[in-house]
């Protein structure tokens, strides 16, 4: 045996040891550096967030001499971004000082203990009073504390093709008062304008959360008094099992697909249908009415690949009505993202100082416009410069008055999947509304550990 032979295993051990520990070499940011992680667009030509954050970073470093901002982009589609972020939040070695959180999952992360309550900071920050109440609630945990500062929101409504409406003899300033009005318009289009899709409502698992939020909840939250949550009972902290409103909302989806007022079922359940609505059906005048989100024009801006500068002349906008026209008369759902501070962050104070810089009136306004977002600061919402920055902004900002946030508690993603399955059942005709509802109730009990209440 050569004397060097013994070195090999030793070397290997040393090598392995160093490789393994290098993975957790600490975040390496000193007390003067704030690490900000954010979701970078998977589309290389979209640099909206990068540009904005670089600008804020410059302002911040100027105002806080000796402090540094380190931007940590995570380039991934939404679902993978959540996964990556959650893994970073698990350890103090990898946790950034500031993270960008989707309201869809924020309550899950709060329950996991990943985030820090911001109440002490917010109490000393006068600008917080400028935020709209519904938006403040977006990042509230079940414990009543606030865990994030929203950087804008989105709303949803009805987009309709003025050309198709004219051919069907429907008014150009259409504003339905009830669900029935929406269906009547769709039936009229089906009858008078053959060859177009009268109404698109997303449905089923292939489109995921879009089916739950853009369609089902837009219906469900218009079935009651507009004040109480029809999906989750905050008082007893339980999920609501079915009920009349739930069945009516499913019934609406069933009507659309069984009467063939929507796209062909196979198209509706195609995972790429969202791309087709925005890129093909609406711009090419093949779709009468679309129940969809405020962000659509993003896709029609210059440089998007399917520019459509005329959209604001060719499309009309209408608020989604409540079921029977009961007060408040219109309904919208809102999501959006918030800036939050991880529980394991090294420099929480500095991180909040950075939030304050990002959320000055001027910076917030710059961001809403750049991102096709809806203002959550009331002073920006009133600013004429913001209101006229893009067509449609005023319409969708006004919807914030009557908007609802999802009860995005930890079980929500599973509840959402159960809703999508029920929708898919009535869409394909595999299930009646009753069957789909009872299947949903079973799935709900499973998803929420029986935290279910009958209504």
């Amino acid at each position: 045996m050569r004397p060097t032979a013994a070195f090999t295993p030793l070397l290997a051990l040393a090598l392995a040891a160093t490789t393994l520990t290098a993975c957790g070499g600490g975040s390496g940011s000193g007390p003067d550096t704030v690490k900000v992680s954010f979701k970078q667009s998977t589309d290389n030509s979209v640099k909206v967030m990068d540009t904005y954050l670089a600008d804020v970073k410059k302002q911040f470093e100027k105002a806080h001499p000796g402090k540094k901002v380190e931007l940590v982009p995570i380039k991934a589609p939404d679902s993978e971004y959540y996964t990556k972020l959650q893994q970073m939040l698990r350890s103090p070695k990898t946790a950034p000082d500031l993270v960008y959180e989707d309201t869809f999952l924020i309550n899950s992360d709060i329950t996991s203990g990943y985030l820090k309550p911001l109440d002490p900071y917010l109490a000393k920050w006068p600008d917080w009073n400028r935020f709209i109440d519904t938006a403040k609630a977006a990042a509230k945990g079940e414990d009543g504390k606030t865990y994030g500062v929203p950087d804008g929101t989105d709303t949803r409504g009805l987009w309709f093709s003025k050309d198709i409406f004219a051919r069907a003899g429907l008014p150009a300033d259409w504003q339905p008062k009830t669900w029935k009005d929406v269906l009547t318009a769709a039936r009229t289009i089906k009858q008078k304008v053959p060859g177009v899709i009268p109404l698109n409502v997303y449905t089923g698992k292939p489109v995921g959360e879009a089916a739950t939020m853009q369609t089902f909840e837009m219906l469900l939250y218009g079935t009651n008094d507009g004040l109480t949550d029809p999906l989750y009972d905050k008082a007893s902290k339980k999920w609501i099992a079915g009920g009349q409103g739930f069945e009516d909302a499913l019934g609406f989806v069933e009507t659309v697909y069984q009467e063939k007022l929507g796209p062909d079922v196979s198209d509706a359940l195609d995972p790429n249908v969202m791309t087709r609505v925005r890129g093909e059906w609406l711009p090419k005048g093949r779709l009468g009415i679309a129940l969809d989100g405020s962000w659509l024009p993003q896709d029609w801006l210059p440089g998007s690949g399917h520019e459509w500068p005329e959209w604001s002349e060719e499309l009309g906008l209408a608020a989604m009505p409540t079921q029977h026209g009961q007060a408040p008369g219109e309904v919208s759902m809102s999501g959006g993202w918030t800036w939050s501070i991880p529980a394991k962050a090294g420099n929480p104070d500095l991180a909040f100082a950075f939030i304050k810089t990002m959320q000055t009136k001027a910076n917030a306004q710059k961001w809403y416009v750049a991102n096709s977002g809806i203002a959550v600061r009331e002073d920006v919402a009133r600013d004429p410069e913001y209101v006229t920055a893009q067509p449609g902004i005023k319409f969708f900002t006004d919807l914030v008055r009557h908007t609802h946030y999802r009860p995005a508690y930890p079980a929500y993603p599973k509840v959402s999947t159960a809703i999508q399955e029920a929708m898919e059942g009535v869409t394909t005709g595999d299930m009646s509304v009753d069957e789909a509802t009872s299947t949903y109730v079973d799935a709900l009990q499973d998803a929420t550990d029986n935290q279910v209440v009958e209504r």
Binding site: S79, G113, T417
Partner: protein, 309 residues
């Protein structure tokens, strides 16, 4: 870092004879020393994570939405067998594997290999080129190509229209068949290459002798060709099956497991549970069950291979 290929006891896939190894002498411990680094690395980077996975499968670990995870024993497994969606996924995985791997890739690969032996060189090059191209395409690209082929306004329906046959949305009506076909389209090249090599190993004299004795094509195939390439069949089936069991991207791109879970095989089910519902523990348990399915297939093949001709 290099990994060593997993050593399977499939016997040799080439040549009927090979030199026998000399028996190991004592004192070979010293000679095993150079292997230590590789073994240590394997333990660290392969066995470690696998052991951790096995542990996770017995916990209720979630990626998010829980304050504390705990050990739950076999709960994830009992839950799986009571879960209709899981049983549906198992069934679809079997359908997908049998259709696309056992029947599709295997038979088609053998047929192509056999036909190409008799073809002229340009035909052989062209066919081989096309088949191998399908194989080397990235999975996502292949997925999109076949999505475009099967969708309602797709190529297949355009062809059927020309022939005045009824068109339909294949991804909606027969999703599992569509993705199985896609997998055959993409994976046949591998079988073709394995079988081409195996057929070249058959001594010409034997086939000629059989021909002289008056054996027809089918009889030659059944009594000579197949027994002689039995080992390759086994190896190919095993590799094919294991590859097919873990196909994810192709199905994800084409159907996302839909509509209504009608093409949701186990890998897609796993992904949904672990990353869309954040149930890491449950997803990992399902992964272990998938491993079990794979090893069952492997065992069957190994049994088939054991009997000597």
């Amino acid at each position: 870092m290099t990994t060593t290929a997993p050593h399977t006891d499939l016997g040799k896939t080439s040549g009927p004879t090979a030199p026998r190894r000399p028996p190991r002498r004592p004192g070979s411990l010293v000679r095993a020393l150079p292997l230590t680094p590789a073994v240590v690395l394997l333990l660290l980077f392969l066995a470690g994570p696998i052991a951790y996975c096995v542990y996770i499968a017995f916990t209720d670990l979630q990626l998010t939405g829980q304050a504390q995870d705990s050990f739950v024993g076999f709960e994830n497994f009992t839950r799986a067998f009571g879960d209709e969606a899981f049983l549906n996924a198992v069934w679809l995985t079997l359908v997908f594997t049998v259709l696309s791997s056992l029947v599709g890739q295997n038979t088609l690969g053998l047929a192509l290999a056999a036909l190409m032996r008799r073809a002229s060189k340009p035909v052989r090059t062209l066919t081989g080129g096309i088949v191998v191209t399908a194989w080397v395409l990235p999975e996502v690209v292949a997925g999109f190509l076949l999505y475009a082929f099967f969708r309602r306004e797709g190529t297949l329906n355009a062809v059927l229209d020309q022939l005045h046959l009824p068109a339909q949305n294949w991804l909606f009506t027969l999703p599992i068949l569509a993705v199985s076909f896609a997998n055959v389209w993409r994976g046949t090249a591998f079988s073709m290459l394995v079988y081409s090599a195996a057929l070249n190993e058959i001594p010409k004299e034997i086939t000629e002798a059989a021909e002289v004795d008056g054996a027809g094509g089918w009889r030659r195939l059944w009594h000579i060709t197949l027994p002689m390439i039995r080992r390759s069949i086994g190896t190919n089936l095993m590799l094919n099956t294991l590859q097919t069991l873990s196909v994810f991207g192709l199905i994800w791109v084409m159907t996302r497991g839909g509509p209504g879970g009608r093409s949701q095989t186990l890998p897609l089910f796993m992904y949904e549970q672990a990353f869309q519902n954040s149930l890491i523990g449950y997803g990992t348990a399902v992964a272990l069950l998938l491993l079990l399915v794979g090893s069952l297939f492997s065992l069957v093949y190994l049994r088939l291979l054991r009997t000597e001709v």
